[in-house]
């Protein structure tokens, strides 16, 4: 019913436009229409396939594509360039931009503009989707971007930003690029409610981008879910990282970052859920790590991170580290491997838990030792090491392991804790 009504509304709107616009406008290219418009105009483009030279917008404008308005390239050029502030592009379908190694050729490029809005467009079979350079306070919302590439080197990024600030990227659906969302030198931006799948490198990629937040995004079946590198003060809340699977695949790769938050995320079925290298003072809370190969791989140069109230369930290895000491602290997490007891029934186990096993240490050194996973020998070695730690970091313990998970393993919602510490 709703679709039908929308359809009727759109049809009547179309009739009105056809009735009102001068007859000679019909058959004009979008470029001509844009050139003919005045700053602040609303230009609406009817359904149809538009094949033309790159459209360049040089004054504030709202350009709206009717349903079925398709901007199709010949492959060898970009399709639309926003070269002015306060431009809105809405409702178009962008098609066909071929890959090239000479330039970052994009379907839609925002060059040094601010307060632009890219809304509800579809991008199909493109090299780069939306490319922002030196953009400011732009909103990228409700777009659908998909493409098909063979491998990491033959693809571009769906939403790409370079030297920008205050971007707002939400409700986009991205599939099959190199990076789903790429932010480099992009500060104070928000990325939320996006779905980024099957990208050949990262679902979301931060480099040198400070004070950004991303929340409620889903990163599924990417080569790696999210990489955050060389960035300070990143807030990572309530995202889902699923099935980053393969050799050196990570749900979340943290490298050279400081003072961020990783709270309320779900990591499941990743080869490595979180990899931390030179990552300091991160607050890691209320995340769920379920059925990953390694839940956490913490390099020795990651220090002063705090892990609290996280759930570790069904992972092959909960924590692996190449460090002999424990530069980060663990307290009050739930570990499904924990076999201790809780005599005073306060919900906290009475004996500490050591999440690093001897076998994880051996496997860190010789990966092929994984062939012995679940062998009795490994259980015996782990048990012996737990009783008399000789190789595993002595200080890496959770002294207050929880007896029950904090997050419902099926729903992913927090379980209300009757016993709160």
């Amino acid at each position: 019913m709703l679709a039908r009504r929308t359809h009727i509304t759109l049809c009547s709107l179309l009739l009105m436009i056809i009735a009102w616009v001068p007859a000679h406008v019909h058959g004009q290219s979008i470029g001509e229409r844009v050139a003919a418009s005045s700053p602040g105009d609303i230009v609406t483009i009817e359904a149809g396939v538009y094949t033309e030279a790159p459209i360049i917008i040089q004054h504030p404008l709202t350009l709206i594509g009717e349903t079925g308005a398709i901007i199709r390239g010949a492959g060898d050029h970009e399709l639309l360039v926003v070269d002015a502030d306060s431009v809105t592009i809405q409702g178009f379908q962008f098609e066909r931009v071929d890959k090239t190694f000479l330039e970052d050729r994009a379907a839609l490029r925002i060059a040094g503009a601010s307060h632009c809005r890219i809304l509800d467009n579809t991008f199909d079979d493109v090299f780069f989707g939306i490319y922002m350079a030196k953009a400011h306070a732009c909103a990228i919302e409700g777009n659908t971007l998909s493409t098909t590439i063979e491998n990491e080197t033959s693809g571009g990024n769906a939403i790409h930003s370079w030297y920008s600030t205050d971007l707002f990227i939400q409700n986009n659906t991205i599939d099959g690029f190199r990076d789903g969302i790429y932010l480099e030198f992009t500060d104070d931006s928000v990325v939320q409610n996006n779905v980024s799948t099957e990208n050949h490198r990262y679902g979301l990629h931060f480099m040198f981008s400070d004070r950004c937040a991303y929340r409620n995004n889903r990163f599924v079946d990417n080569r790696a879910g999210v990489a955050v590198m060389y960035a300070d003060g990143i807030l990572m809340h309530d995202n889902e990282f699923t099935r980053a699977w393969g050799t050196s695949a990570y749900g979340l790769l943290l490298k050279e970052i400081r003072d961020g938050e990783l709270i309320g995320n779900r990591f499941s079925e990743n080869t490595t859920a979180v990899f931390m290298e030179a990552t300091d003072r991160m607050q890691i809370e209320h995340n769920q790590f379920a059925n990953n190969g390694w839940a956490l791989r913490i390099m020795a140069n990651a220090i002063d991170n705090t892990f609290t109230a996280n759930d570790f369930v069904g992972n092959t290895f909960d924590v692996a580290t190449n460090s002999r000491s424990a530069p980060s602290s663990f307290a009050g997490n739930y570990w499904d491997r924990y076999a201790g007891y809780d005599l005073d029934a306060d919900g906290v186990g009475d004996v500490p838990f050591r999440p690093v096993t001897l076998f994880s240490l051996i496997a860190e050194r010789h990966e092929s030792a994984l062939f012995l996973y679940r062998s009795v020998l490994v259980d015996v070695l782990n048990a012996a090491e737990r009783i008399m730690p000789a190789m595993t970091p002595v200080d890496l313990v959770d002294a207050e392991p929880l007896m029950a998970p904090t997050i419902d393993p099926d729903q992913g919602t927090p379980i209300s804790q009757t016993v709160l510490r």
């Binding site: 050799t247 092959t316 994984l370 062939f371 996973y373 679940r374």
Partner: protein
Amino acid sequence: MKSSSSTLRIIQFQFQDALSSRWLLVHTLIYLLIAEGLLMSSGFTDKALVSLVNVVLLLVPLVALLFGVIHQYTNRDYTIWMLTQPLKRPNLFSGLYLGLTVPMVLSFSVGITLPFLWHGGLAAGQAVQLITLLGLGAALTFSGVGVAASLAIRFADRVRGIGLALVIWLVYALLFDGLILMGISVFGNWPIEKALIGAMLLNPIDLSRLILLQTFDAAAMLGYTGAVFSRFFGSGMGMIIASVTLLLWVAFPVWLASRLFRKQDF
């Protein structure tokens, strides 16, 4: 009297004996309690299933070897009496062997399956895992009893036979993997994954473990190692090689025991 039917007759009487025996009941109950305990406490989580797999891989070969060898020493006089009957030795051997292993396998299967059924495991889509587990349990039983029979026939001294059965279990359950681990730490810098798959074929317990990992817990197989593993065990050819090797692990001890039984002076 046809030889195959005399084998069947022996199996029939062995079954009658086994069905009213206390050991078979205990055997069933042990597996029932283990499966029930794990499923009751953890439900159909990977944790429970994987623990069950671990117990089965550890216990089944031990029971097959130890119980197999003890059972045969206990029944040695009866075996000798049976040998004086108009029976061909291969038929008698098949009868006695199957008369012991088949009840063991059935009892193991019942013990594991019942808790699965009443906890709704088949509905939970665990049928493939269950069948794999039962199949491997059966293979390890057939293999272990074959080894046990060889020992019991070859060594009249039961202390020696039982001791050797324990040693063999220790070797395959533990020491073999220790050697593999040593090998990995020495040659770890070479691409030894394929050699490791070959080595795993030399131990039926490891082989069963890896086949089960493929169905239960493939998440454990990570990185390059995992890729090599999945390529082998995930492929039809790899599974065929693994299954055939496991069958050889059944066939060889049984053939050896049968041959020893045929030649033995009792």
